[in-house]
């Protein structure tokens, strides 16, 4: 393949991923409004289109037309680049997710590790947005976001390690293929529980939504943003919900391996992911928010020791099975 062809293929792949991300985000935003609406005994969007399905499309068009305001005292370049970094990190993370055995944008040997590493780049965009806005609420939100994401990244990574030890591979496709007979959630239930809690914190969702606590911080790190730049933060948040649910599906819920009825692999994958997404939204609309000190306590004093215990137990069981001790 010549250089031109390679570049062309990359551009087409990126465009496809971008299109998928946009559509996913629109669906998720609509879904959130409906789910949250019905859980709070109201209807949610209902006017635009049948049952309000076109509401998010209308919102997106509105955002396109809005003025892009940059505060006079902001650090201009930092302020401008921050949403791009957050969104690019989400887009790049997205490319490692296999939807079916042959539907994956980037397949590398250590895709799980790469996915987790690249997703940590979002922290950078958040700290840039918080500092660059020159606004105390934005700065506080940014600092909280960084502290939280760094703290909870550790239990998140460690919780998947038990599965990696059982599979013997860091490749997401290998991990799914290994779950043909039994999903990892059964032997790794502790890991799954840690994963779900840490994942909620990592994507800044209730009960861990301190970085954007609207009753204290206006809107957190994106307080000063408007128009498309704000939309990028918003989109990235929803893409992250999808990514983390997809990751949970792959690592713990058997990915595209189906049961009882036979559906195409990608359909199984999407169904399971959307079940997890629904769970996130369920928690979102029902739980109160943690305090900052409780947040750190849960991360460092409960989740981290539990994750280490899980790794030790998994290692012990593997050694016992292979008969290398006793």
């Amino acid at each position: 393949m010549s250089l031109l062809q390679t570049i062309l293929v990359i551009i087409i792949e990126l465009a496809a991923a971008l299109g998928f991300i946009m559509v996913t985000a629109l669906i998720l935003i609509y879904m959130l409004r409906k789910v949250m609406g019905h859980m709070q005994a109201r209807l949610g969007p209902i006017r635009v289109g049948p049952h309000g399905v076109l509401q998010t499309v209308a919102d997106a068009l509105k955002l396109f037309g809005k003025e892009d305001i940059i505060p006079a005292a902001a650090d201009k370049w930092t302020f401008r680049i921050a949403p791009a970094i957050v969104f690019t990190a989400s887009l790049a993370t997205f490319s490692f997710i296999p939807f079916a055995p042959n539907i994956v944008a980037v397949n590398v040997d250590i895709s799980l590790f790469f996915l987790l590493a690249i997703s940590s780049l979002a922290v950078l965009g958040i700290v840039m947005a918080g500092w660059g806005s020159n606004n105390k609420y934005a700065l506080l939100g940014g600092l909280r976001g960084v502290a939280q994401m760094i703290s909870y990244e550790i239990p998140l990574v460690l919780s998947t390690l038990g599965v990696v030890m059982m599979t013997g591979s860091l490749n997401l496709i290998d991990i799914v293929e290994k779950q043909k007979t039994m999903y990892n959630i059964v032997p790794q239930f502790l890991g799954f529980a840690i994963f779900i809690v840490a994942a909620l914190a990592k994507i800044n969702r209730t009960p861990f939504d301190l970085p954007e606590a609207e009753s204290e911080l206006v809107a957190g790190y994106n307080t000063e943003y408007s128009g498309m730049r704000w939309a990028f933060f918003f989109l990235a948040e929803f893409v992250n919900i999808f990514i983390i649910s997809a990751l949970g599906t792959i690592v713990f819920l058997g990915g595209w391996n189906g049961f009882l009825i036979s559906l195409p692999p990608w359909a199984w994958f999407m169904i399971k992911s959307y079940v997890l997404i629904f769970f996130v939204m369920w928690v979102w609309s029902t739980f109160p928010r943690f305090r900052a000190d409780q947040l750190m306590d849960v991360g460092w004093k409960i989740l981290l020791p539990l994750a280490l215990l899980n790794i030790a137990l998994t290692g012990l069981v593997i050694l016992l099975r292979e008969g290398r001790i006793f």
Binding site: F113, A117, V127, M128, W131, V146, I150
Partner: protein, 170 residues
């Protein structure tokens, strides 16, 4: 080793970005900007690792340096002294001569070591597809003692930091 055009172009782009951002790290008047440029530089190092087919090291480079270490530097700066949009007044540099000397000595030493070492070269075909298990093997078998000593060192640093932070509360 056959080097394709794509690799060559990628190497050129990564190197250019890395050198420019490294230069900006030392010339930026705003210390937070300097840290942001440092992030770009370290990210380019991850690009080098990928070009060398060291995928595990590339991921570690991103996760640890870009995702954690530098972000903590920014964090510390923001909490202590970096006001938005203002260059931090730096003291007059009086040790320019020493700085140049030390840099030259380090550059000379590093170049000498790099040029005189016989680097083991493996052809692409013979290269192992995954580096992860090999790195794990090296860390936990061959060099297990230095590895553990390093972790004790880090633990000491951790405890030291906690002791320093605790002192104010008493």
């Amino acid at each position: 080793m056959e080097i394709s055009t794509v690799q060559l172009v990628a190497f050129g782009i990564v190197t250019a970005i890395m050198l420019i951002s490294a230069l900006l790290v030392v010339t930026a008047r705003n210390i937070v900007h300097a840290v942001f440029f440092l992030i770009v530089t370290l990210f380019c190092v991850a690009g080098y690792f990928i070009l060398l087919l060291a995928d595990f090291l590339a991921a570690v480079q991103i996760l640890i340096y870009v995702g954690a270490v530098v972000v903590l530097i920014v964090f510390g700066l923001i909490l202590t002294r970096a006001r938005v949009g203002q260059a931090i007044p730096m003291e007059e540099v009086r040790q320019r001569l020493w700085a140049v000397l030390v840099s030259l000595v380090f550059f000379g030493g590093a170049s000498y070591a790099l040029l005189n070492e016989k680097w083991p070269v493996v052809s692409v075909e013979k290269m192992e597809v995954t580096t992860t298990s090999k790195i794990a093997d090296t860390l936990f078998n061959t060099y297990v003692l230095p590895f553990q000593v390093t972790s004790v060192l880090l633990l000491a640093g951790l405890i030291g930091a906690i002791v320093l932070a605790m002192r104010e509360e008493k």
